[in-house]
Amino acid sequence: MSEKFVVGYDGSDVAKRALDFAVSRAKAQGGSILIVHVLEWSPYSFLTPEEIEERHARRTEELERAETALMTPLKSTIAAAGVPVETRIKYGHVAKTLCDVAKKEGATQMVIGRDGDGGLSSRVFGSVAGSLVQVAPVPCTIVP
């Protein structure tokens, strides 16, 4: 069974490092890459009436922007490196959504970056990397 790497990607430098790491491993092991971009979203946040009205249009815009700005450039470069690549753009809680995708798509490994900025907010609310350590359904590599 070939390896399938789920990579959490948000366009940041650490995310790029995580992706490079995953691509090099996938190439070595003959595996494939599934890049997942999660847009933070809670169905329990509170919106004004106008935001509710515009939500569908905004969502469509956000998905398009993520596709063209983040995913499309990656697809061609990784495919050029000879690694099969797929992309997903999802809404939800970042760590939970990454795990859901990994389970659903039958991934064998997860790779994410961390910014290592242990500020107050991540102490209080936790970080994506910290959460994944707790809940990841498959082996998870955290790239500094």
């Binding site: 847009l39 979203w41 169905p43 329990y44 946040s45 509170f46 919106l47 004004t48 009436p49 106008e50 935001e51 509710i52 009205e53 515009e54 939500r55 569908h56 249009a57 969502r59 469509t60 956000e62 998905l63 999802k90 809404y91 939800g92 859901d100």
Partner: protein, 514 residues
């Protein structure tokens, strides 16, 4: 007719700034004079009583409609209750649709428009006049109102307009037009225009000036007397920043704080009730006894009934049509699911929050009764029950809460201001939708209405505009007259939707995702 009223509103707006330089007193007098003489007939018409009684026909209109819908849809408020909760929890939401507005968000936004001063001040008025028995009738009317909400919100989603840019506009004006056309009933367009006019007036009045006015009253209670225009300008500035400037951060703060305030309010009420746990049985005894005998209140048990019905109708807006506008923007494949979710609104607003206020007032012994007869003592005018501090309205609620938890009046003042603010934001949207229905969807039209809206915040806070507020309350209930005619005509369509959905739910065609 369509152009006439908004033109008058516009003209009024442009003349106000000039007039503001004159003394505030004369502005008040002028506005009061003009409004009272030109709108008094309308207010009297809407709030007039059945001949020979003191029962306002508009209250009967709302309660009868709620009863008809309850019977017609087979007590839908209880049958679909569990399913409504499951929908709000997201059990039936496709994970691939994440990022769209959830049922929870639609409900929370619609609730923030209805939970407000009515729940705090209005209930106190009702209990003060109608006695504890009013609570019983208020709860009953709240439960019945759930069926009205269900009907109007289903229609709101079903007949909304969707535009190419992904935006949606919905509400009674759209189902009156499109639904009537579908059924081949004439007059839909006329009713829609009428509804829109009332909706704009209601939004500027009850949804704006009244809120600003009461928020200022509450501020002066806490901080002492100061000019209303200061509150008005500050409020208008914040409202402007949110609805025109699109400053989401302010909205987001209120968003977070308003539900928290709601929880704090209900939580505090529960604590006070539990602190007096030995009185709970007695309080319910008073509520039931009062509901059927009146316990000495003005008008006997009928007095209690009118107050209770009236408060529920005023508070949860079931049948008014405003919730149909709020809920219509939600993306759902099944319009009826939004109807199910919306039936929770009167439950939360009236049956839970209003009842909490009532229980606290009763349990803390604010109402004075004769120890020998057990009947409530009336004030000198014989219009309301005598209270411990001779208070009424929001001051009565404040006194009741503070008697158990000192200093709660500051929390209450904050709650009143935040509730007023969130109600204004919601009504600015309802008014806007009615405005763009009449004048067309464009950025310019939106800006015109929003600017007028902000101006009315200042006017509402600075002046004591009795007749204006009477008029705008009348306008909100006039919305219900038009809307409920529409609901009667269109209820077979909702029934068809309901039967189709219910059978698919039972057969397992509609499945849970979790």
């Amino acid at each position: 007719m369509t152009r006439l009223v908004p033109t008058a509103v516009l003209a009024a707006c442009f003349t106000f700034p000039a007039a503001l330089t004159a003394s505030a007193q004369s502005i008040d007098e002028t506005i009061n004079g003009i409004f009272a003489s030109s709108t008094g007939w309308f207010v009297n018409l809407i709030f007039s009583n059945f001949p020979g009684t003191n029962f306002p026909w508009i209250v009967a209109w709302l309660v009868i409609a709620a009863t008809v819908f309850t019977v017609y849809f087979g007590v839908i408020q209880f049958r679909a209750f569990g399913h409504a909760i499951a929908l709000v929890r997201g059990d039936y939401s496709d994970p691939d649709d994440a990022g769209e507005v959830s049922h929870f968000q639609a409900l929370a936004t619609a609730l923030s428009g209805t939970v407000g001063l009515g729940n705090i001040a209005g209930v106190a008025v009702a209990i003060g006049i109608g006695g504890p028995g009013a609570t019983f009738w208020m709860i009953l009317a709240g439960l019945l109102g759930m069926a009205s909400k269900f009907t109007e919100c289903t229609l709101g989603v079903k007949y909304r307009n969707e535009y190419a840019n992904g935006k949606v506009s919905g509400g009674p004006m759209y189902y009156l037009t499109k639904g009537f056309a579908e059924r081949g009933v004439p007059g839909g367009r006329f009713l829609a225009i009428l509804f829109s006019i009332f909706c704009i007036l209601g939004a500027l009045g009850g949804g704006n000036m009244f809120q600003a006015n009461q928020a200022h009253a509450q501020l002066t209670n806490v901080f002492g007397v100061y000019p209303g225009w200061i509150t008005g300008i500050v409020f208008a500035g914040i409202v402007f920043a949110v609805i025109v400037g699109g400053i989401k951060s302010i909205a987001r703060v209120t968003e977070k704080v308003v539900p928290i305030m709601g929880v704090i309010y209900v939580g505090t009420a529960l604590i006070i009730i539990l602190m007096n746990y030995d009185m709970i049985g007695w309080a319910f005894g008073q509520i039931f006894a009062g509901a059927f005998t009146g316990l000495g209140v003005a008008g006997g048990f009928v007095g209690a009934l009118i107050q209770g019905f009236r408060r529920a109708a005023f508070s949860n807006e079931a049948g008014v049509g405003s919730a149909a506008i709020a809920h219509s923007a939600v993306r759902t494949k099944e319009p009826i699911t939004e109807g199910f979710v919306s039936l929770l609104e009167p439950l939360i607003d009236t049956v839970i929050v209003c009842t909490m206020t009532a229980l606290v007032i009763i349990i803390t012994g604010q109402l004075i009764s004769d120890p020998n007869t057990g009947l409530y003592l009336l004030n000198e005018a014989g219009t309301a029950i005598r209270t411990v501090g001779d208070t009424s309205g929001v001051a009565l609620t404040s006194a009741a809460f503070s008697s158990s938890i000192g200093g709660f009046k500051y929390v209450l003042a904050l709650a009143v201001i935040l509730f007023a603010f969130s109600t204004m934001i919601s009504w600015s949207y309802y008014g806007l939708k009615a405005w763009t229905y009449l004048f067309g969807e464009s950025k310019t039209q939106e800006l015109v209405f929003k600017s007028i809206f902000c101006l009315f915040v200042v006017i509402g806070a600075s002046a004591s505009l009795g007749p204006v507020i009477d008029f705008s309350d009348a306008a909100i209930f006039a919305m219900a007259v038009v809307n409920i005619i529409g609901l009667y005509v269109l209820m077979p369509i909702v029934k068809r939707e309901l039967n189709s959905y219910w059978s698919r739910l039972k057969s397992g065609e509609i499945k849970k995702f979790t």
